[in-house]
């Protein structure tokens, strides 16, 4: 999985490319989240436009760090999750935990 992190004034934008599944992908994103929180960046925008699949390991990671960022006054906001990713999040009952946006700018500005 490719992970590209960009710092914006209102939030940190994390762009993913590839399936978010157990193993290297989930480990890399966990490390990215941990580094963000360690640096005090708890307002995160996660661009999922190029993530065709999220498995239960990936979902577990997202909800765990969603809770962590919220405890610090932040949040994780999702951008352009695929139809199948939305379906998967809904199936396991966590879709309603996330705010979803059409683009990075709108998600970042929602933190202002």
């Amino acid at each position: 999985m490719d992970i590209n992190v960009r710092k914006r004034s209102q939030a940190q934008v994390i762009q993913l490319r590839g399936p978010l599944r157990m193993g290297a992908a989930v480990d890399s994103l966990r490390q990215t989240f941990e580094e963000s929180l360690a640096n005090g960046d708890n307002r995160l925008v996660l661009n999922l436009a190029e993530v065709a699949m999220i498995d239960s390991s990936g979902i577990g990671l997202l909800v765990r760090f969603l809770a962590s960022t919220r405890q610090r006054g932040g949040n994780i906001k999702l951008v352009q999750p695929s139809k199948f990713a939305v379906q998967t999040l809904r199936l396991v009952g966590v879709l309603n935990l996330f705010e979803i946006f059409d683009d990075d700018d709108a998600a970042a500005e929602s933190f202002a």
């Binding site: 599944r21 157990m22 193993g23 699949m53 577990g60």
Partner: protein, 146 residues
């Protein structure tokens, strides 16, 4: 007829398309998952169905590696895919572990489980596939997509 198909993976109408045993590692199962997706593409399975099968297989393989093999790379996980002339697919994932009680799996839809970082795999498999059976005390999962 699903009833005929339910007879099991040894059903004569089923053709074996895929049979691979790999080390119990996350990298190895990612490779199996990609190979399954490629096989489904060759079988001209529609995209939505391909995604649902691929995710169910990923969950079954992950359970086999983590729970069946205890993340021990010296152990092996086996994955088979068969199809019939009607395009129905059966996938069988087998591990050498102690098995488990699928009826004791928690419901991730319960509010108290919403923020849990695990415990969604078997639930997802049951939602994504048309028929799911656990055999050999849970060491083998058979998943059908019609």
């Amino acid at each position: 007829m699903p009833g005929e198909f339910r007879d099991g993976p040894e059903n004569a109408a089923l053709s074996e398309r895929f049979d691979l045993s790999v080390s119990a590692t996350s990298d190895a199962i990612a490779t199996v998952g990609d190979a399954i997706s490629e096989t489904l593409l060759q079988l001209e399975v529609p995209e939505q169905k391909r995604l649902e099968i691929a995710l169910a297989v990923q969950e079954a393989l992950a359970n086999a590696v983590v729970h069946g093999c205890g993340n021990d790379p010296s152990k092996q996980v086996r994955c088979r895919l068969k199809s019939d002339p009607q395009g129905r697919i059966v996938i069988i994932v087998t591990d050498p572990g102690p098995g488990f009680r699928p009826d004791l799996v928690a419901d991730p839809q319960q509010r108290e489980n919403q923020y849990a970082d695990h415990g969604r795999g078997v639930y997802l498999i049951r939602q994504l596939m048309d028929e799911v059976h656990f055999e050999h005390s849970g060491r083998e999962i058979m998943m059908w997509k019609y």
